[in-house]
């Protein structure tokens, strides 16, 4: 297993955002994460990437417990992430955003990452001056440039129309998936179905269900999570 979550619990004051979560991901595997807003998806990402310290449980990456590591140490172990609301260094160029500022710096890999998302021509453009779509792709290039083994993507198609969503899904399939593990959170079932053989439903910080996408989206558990219990 590349990533193993054992009893992961995260608390904010009195609120338990994640309770005793167990999750497993093989190297090169792709896992979809679904659930209504507030169910703990982003908290999960924050815990794994090292921004938030868990109250209990273990986060094993390649056998190593990340729970006590700082965010930069986690990043250097090979975990990269993208954000629901694009987060770039606005005052820097596309190239300066993609080229890693932490060792090791592989320039040719960064060039290839930029080309893979189709932004090679924009390398000298200020990140703030790129359109939203391009900014999202830049985020992906930045993640790829560090040769990560695990990529966490938080709603990469949020705010995109149907056409753009398809393009983004295709990009993820061709540029991100090969040779890497991926955890993808989305509200759009089609995207999850297209990219992930397995999906997990989160509800109030707990794993409500784990199954292949088709089965999960058809299940009553899914409907209940999004629409509430109906007796």
């Amino acid at each position: 297993m590349l990533l193993l979550l054992e009893g992961l619990t995260v608390r904010f004051g009195g609120l338990e955002a994640l309770c005793g979560l167990d999750l497993a991901l093989a190297p090169g595997g792709a896992l979809g994460l679904v659930g209504p807003n507030g169910c703990g998806k982003t908290t999960l990402f924050n815990a794994v990437s090292g921004i938030v310290r868990p109250a209990a449980g273990r986060i094993l990456f390649d056998g190593r417990d990340l729970a006590r590591l700082s965010a930069h140490a986690v990043a250097r172990l090979g975990i990269a992430r993208t954000f629901q609301q694009v987060r770039l260094f606005e005052r820097m160029t596309a190239w300066d955003n993609v080229l890693p500022a932490a060792a090791p710096v592989d320039r040719s890999l960064a060039e290839r990452a930029l080309a893979a998302v189709g932004l090679a021509a924009e390398r000298h453009t200020l990140a703030s001056e790129l359109p939203l779509q391009a900014q999202r792709r830049l985020e992906i290039a930045r993640a790829l440039a560090r040769a990560p083994r695990l990529v966490l993507m938080d709603e990469p198609t949020a705010g995109l129309n149907a056409e753009e969503t398809e393009a983004m899904a295709a990009l993820i399939r061709t540029a991100v998936l090969p040779g890497r593990a991926l955890i993808l959170t989305e509200h759009k079932p089609d995207v999850i179905a297209a990219l992930c053989p397995q999906a997990v439903l989160l509800e109030h910080g707990r794993k409500a269900m784990e199954a292949p996408p088709a089965a999960l989206f058809a299940s009553p558990a899914f409907r209940r999570a999004y629409l509430g219990a109906m007796d």
Partner: protein, 313 residues
């Protein structure tokens, strides 16, 4: 060249050091009101170097820079968990502590039959290295600018390096920088140490130019000014803070127009620029624009040269 003008030029060069010091910290994302502390420590250390220890100027200046760097590293360690207001206030507190300590410390040693050294509120005089070695004000000013040029070249090199990128990224969005593998703590420590060295070096140069320094020279106003220079001149390049110094000392202080109103104009300039152009005149966008224009020129030149001989039909 008349002595007054030389003095002004030398001042611009020397103050640029402490402006660059505050600039480095601003790049790392923090506001410091206290760089004058390391300027002071550097001044006193370098002064002791030549006047008391009878070292050559270069060694004394190095000592000043070293003392500034070490003190800054210590302060940075103590304030690691602070950010924003709290950090700014801590730097101010430290700087005032240094200034008041300078008012209390008397350390005088007999050298060539005279007592030399810091004398509390009476200051530290007889830093007469330039006089004793027949260095004219013009020569000294030239030396200051050679040093400044070297420092600016160093800045240019660092800006394009991984360290420069890490510094700016840590300053822009520390969490995001961490997620890219940058240890923001280490970047801040490095930035603070470098800033301390810069201010310390500047202080050493200052002490030798004036031959006499007193604690009152290193007050809060100096700290606020050094900060303001980067904010006015621009944070996109190391030339920004230097531009800020030029505007203040070169324009405002020297011109008779603003006599007596210099603070009012300067303060107003800072306040207005913070609203309309928060990263200063030479901000990142401006620098980017200039770089793009230069690139265009170079590309056009290269293109012309490439198909030049083949152009004739």
């Amino acid at each position: 060249m008349d002595d007054h003008l030389v003095g002004v030029l030398a001042s611009i060069g020397i103050v640029s050091f402490v402006a660059l010091s505050a600039y480095v910290l601003l790049l790392s994302g923090e506001v410091s009101f206290g760089q004058q502390a390391f300027f002071a420590l550097g001044a006193y250390a370098a002064g002791i170097g030549t006047a008391v220890l009878r070292w050559p100027l270069a060694s004394a200046l190095l000592l000043g820079a070293l003392v500034g760097a070490l003190a800054a590293a210590a302060v940075a360690r103590a304030t690691l968990r602070l950010t924003g207001f709290a950090f700014a206030m801590a730097t101010l507190a430290f700087a005032e502590m240094v200034r008041i300590a300078a008012e209390l410390v008397v350390f005088r040693v007999e050298v060539d039959g005279r007592l030399v050294g810091p004398a509390g509120t009476d200051g530290f005089g007889d830093i007469r290295y330039l006089f004793e070695n027949d260095i004219t004000p013009g020569q000294y000013a030239a030396g200051v600018y050679v040093l400044l040029a070297a420092v600016l070249a160093l800045f240019a090199a660092v800006e394009r390096s991984r360290l420069g990128r890490a510094l700016r990224q840590a300053g822009t969005d520390p969490t995001l920088a961490e997620l890219q593998g940058i240890s923001v703590v280490r970047v801040r420590l490095a930035a603070a140490t470098a800033a301390g060295a810069l201010a310390g070096l500047g202080g050493g140069l200052y002490a030798h130019l004036l031959t006499y320094v007193e604690p009152g020279n290193f007050n809060i106003m100096l700290g606020v000014h050094s900060l303001a220079y980067g904010l006015i001149g621009g944070l996109g390049t190391a030339l920004g803070p230097v531009l800020g110094v030029l505007i203040d000392i070169g324009l405002l202080e020297s011109s008779r127009l603003f006599a007596g109103y210099r603070m009012i104009v300067f303060g107003g300039l800072v306040a207005v620029l913070l609203i309309v152009r928060p990263r200063g005149l030479l901000d990142e966008r401006a620098v980017h624009w200039i770089a793009a224009r230069i690139r265009e020129r170079l590309d056009a030149l290269a293109a012309r040269r490439a198909d030049g001989p083949l152009r004739r039909p």
